[in-house]
Amino acid sequence: MQAEEKFTYETWPAEPEKATLEAKNKFLGFWFFLGGETVLFATLFATYLALKDKVPSADHALAKDIFEIPLAFAATMLLLTSSLTSVYAMYHMKNFNFKKMQLWLGLTVALGAAFLVLEIYEFYHYVHAFGHTFTSSAFGSAFYTLVGFHGGHVAFGLAWIITLMVRNSKRGLNLYNAPKFYVASLYWHFIDVVWVFIFTVVYLMGMVG
């Protein structure tokens, strides 16, 4: 099967993300990359746990003073839903329905952007209400590094998905861009999984002290 070939609903292969050798390589390579990313975030989590509530003096705010469940819960819901919408997008990609794929990807981007806005507000709030900054304590450094790395991944993922949507808006699906959409959605799921751990380790465990 050729990457540039034109397809219809009937001729579209069952697994377009793995139909060519280049696609198979991209698919597997991206899984390996996510393996490396897992270790990267595991390391950041370990650093955060080692430095949680490590502050220079008693007048610094600690995890239990800072974190509030409603905000973190809203962010979690936004990101979890965006993962679901990206699943729908890939469902339509596999069914060769480009328009619906774009629609669901658009929703994914909107939810991801809303998450990012909440996160920026959250950081702003911590800095101004608690003086909890990147440089105020080791706790602050570890918190902003862990959650910030995740936020950076979200921002990169948004830019990536938008680029793919705009670049391919005129020409529809083929076996050259289908794997690109697929690995972008894999990346988006990965970001979501990392957030589940952040919600648990940073926010829930932060509430219990």
């Binding site: 990457a3 597997l28 390579g29 490396g36 990267l40 650093t47 490590k54 220079p56 050259y176």
Partner: protein
């Protein structure tokens, strides 16, 4: 391919190498860049040995000595040994599995240029205010106190080159999983390919902790965070853990490919199948697995407590078992074989006792209680030079001689090769054997001078004399390389006469598409099997058809250049007005280049069947 054979001008060749995505040319780039840094690291080693040749020497100052020893270790590990290992992986592994290129040719090029710019950035520290001076391990308590920009060069440079290594690792993994020729099952893969596979997995899981560690260091030194600032709640032990969670697998990342090269050499020059192939595969995988379980043996004296120390001590000693399996398999491969003592074989035979000596001291150091005595002494220096030089560097020299004809189409001179070998072997043992005893007598490592009358004079002088032997050996090798390339006597597919694996079944150097038709692999040592049945080449597994090849690209160079520029911005951001601007500019170049790569379709091109039929530089492979 008539245009391909034409003599090209210097500019065209340069542009070709700047944009190449061909694994064989990238291998040559790695070999040249790695070789250059190897000589640089060697010069730094000579400075160390000159300074320590006599007591109370003032050849270099104490501060400069710290910079030299830091750069010697950092350069040799990250900028010499790793890229040279990558050179052989790139040159040989795709040929061994019968592939036309790696899975991601573009990323292969990106990996090289990231490594290259990272290495150049690190070494520019010599001219821009001083090199890093906290040792190659750059422990945070030292690194945070260092006043020059040296540590910043270290953290940023390694971050850039580390990204390149990670990309290379993923690339090799996918290549081996997805692109093996028909019939090439996992248990028919040559040992060097197996070693590449396990090494790449180690790279994938070991480099991210280093990435994080370096980020923390960068943030602390350049952006005011407090990870290692104890007064603000930080903890310097975090760096030690992150560094060694990376650092210990790193030594297996270096030694496993060395084991792979030696496995090939023992089989070829004993004219025998590798003894215990399955157990060799098992041992390689087991070493890779255990390599992640032992990092805290570098931290026995940090104070983790007796239980942690005991667990890590036992895990460390366990690695001696799979390594022992390998040693015996190599010896049994030679047993009863018809051995030819060529230059690569000499290195391989010398490797066994040298490496075993390093392994024995390794088990000694693994006993946590005894390690309190050895720690930070020259005993440790002797140990790791026995395994790294006696293992890795020997393998790099052996591999260079073995694969030179496959990479360049001409053989290195055997006589000069043997001169190199004997000089280096003698010099190596002269330099490092005595250091065991210097260490046991109490000489601490990383010390810039020592006093007379403590019984350390003779040992240090002998050690320094040995270093001169190794320097001469390297010069002889360089002369050999120049002479060989000037003469340029072309050789055939299988210049050693006893090649066993697929790379020896095709021309030296191979055409840029490697295999006109993918070969059919019928067992371990695929080419040897065919030869034993009287054939002079592989049976093709497919009819002659169009071959799909990737396009060259300049984008990898630009992406890497952007990070190189951004690193200067990050470093000078706090003290200059232009730093932030340069940081943003550099990142814009990198991200812009990535954006261009993303939106510009790159389908590659096809070599047409008719052109392949005209091309008669293959011998014997006919449909």
């Amino acid at each position: 391919m008539s245009t391909y054979a034409q003599k090209k001008g210097f500019g065209a060749v340069l542009w070709d190498y700047l944009t190449t995505v061909d694994h064989k040319k990238i291998a040559i780039l790695y070999l040249i860049a790695g070789g250059f840094f190897f000589i640089l690291g060697g010069l730094e080693a000579l400075f160390i040995r000159i300074q320590l040749a006599v007591p109370n020497n003032d050849f270099v100052s104490a501060g400069f000595y710290n910079e030299i020893l830091t750069m010697h270790g950092t350069t040799m590990i990250f900028l010499a040994a790793m890229p040279l290992v990558f050179a052989f992986m790139n040159a040989v592994m795709p040929l061994q599995i019968g592939a036309r290129d790696v899975a991601f040719p573009f990323l292969n090029s990106l990996g090289f240029w990231l490594f290259f710019f990272g290495g150049v950035f690190l070494n520019l520290s010599w001219f821009l205010g001083g090199a890093p001076d906290a040792g190659w391990t750059s422990y945070a308590s030292l690194a945070m106190a260092s006043e020059t920009h040296g540590i910043d060069f270290y953290a940023l440079g390694l971050q850039i080159s580390g990204a390149g290594t990670l990309i290379g690792g993923i690339n090799f993994l996918v290549t081996i999983v997805n692109m093996r020729a028909p019939g090439m099952t996992y248990m028919r893969m040559p040992m060097f390919t197996w070693a590449t596979f396990v090494t790449s997995a180690l790279i994938l899981f070991a480099f991210p902790p280093l990435t994080v560690g370096l980020f923390l260091l960068i943030f602390d030194r350049m952006f005011g965070s407090n990870f290692f600032d104890v007064a603000n709640g930080g903890n310097t032990i975090i760096w030690e853990h992150l560094f060694w969670i990376f650092g210990h697998p790193e030594v297996y990342i270096l030694i496993l490919p060395a084991f792979g090269i030696f496995s090939e050499i023992f089989a070829i020059f004993s004219r025998k199948r590798l003894f215990g192939y399955s157990s060799m595969v098992f041992a390689t995988v087991l070493i890779g697995f255990l390599g992640f379980m032992v990092w805290a043996h570098h931290m026995f004296t940090t104070g983790l407590g007796p239980i942690a120390n005991a667990i890590f001590a036992v895990a460390t000693m366990a690695i001696a078992v799979p390594t022992g399996i390998k040693i015996f398999n190599w010896m049994f491969t030679m047993w009863g074989g018809s051995i030819k003592f060529t230059t690569p074989m000499l290195w391989a035979v010398a490797f066994i006792p040298s490496f075993v000596a390093g392994g024995v001291t390794g088990v000694m150091l693994a006993s946590a209680a005894a390690d309190y005595q050895y720690h930070d002494s020259y005993f440790v220096v002797a140990h790791f030079h026995y395994v790294i030089v006696g293992g890795v560097v020997f393998a790099l020299f052996a591999g260079a001689h073995l694969y030179w004809p496959k990479m360049f189409g001409t053989m290195l001179n055997e006589t000069l090769g043997k001169v190199t070998f004997w000089l280096f072997l003698i010099g190596f043992h002269l330099t490092f054997f005595i250091q065991h005893f210097l260490g046991l007598m109490g000489m601490p490592r990383r010390i810039f001078t020592f006093l007379p009358g403590q019984g350390l004079e003779t040992g240090n002088l002998i050690s320094s004399i040995g270093a001169i032997f190794m320097a001469i050996a390297t010069i002889v090798l360089l002369i050999n390389v120049i002479m060989t390339q000037v003469k340029n006597e072309k050789v055939g597919n299988d210049p050693w006469g006893d090649g066993r694996t697929l790379e020896w079944a095709i021309a030296s150097p191979p055409p840029f598409y490697n295999f006109k038709q993918l070969p059919l692999v019928r067992g371990l040592d695929a080419y040897w099997l065919e030869k034993m049945e009287g054939k002079n080449g592989m049976t093709p597994a497919e009819p002659l058809g169009d071959i799909h090849m990737p396009n060259n690209s300049f984008i990898p160079f630009v992406i890497s250049l952007g990070l190189f520029i951004a690193a200067f911005g990050a470093m000078y951001r706090a003290e200059t007005s232009w730093g932030l601007l340069v940081l943003i500019l550099g990142m814009a170049v990198t991200l812009g280049a990535m954006f261009v790569r993303s939106i510009k379709d790159d389908h590659g091109f096809h070599i047409h069947k008719e052109d392949l039929m005209d091309d008669d530089n293959d011998k014997g492979v006919k449909a």
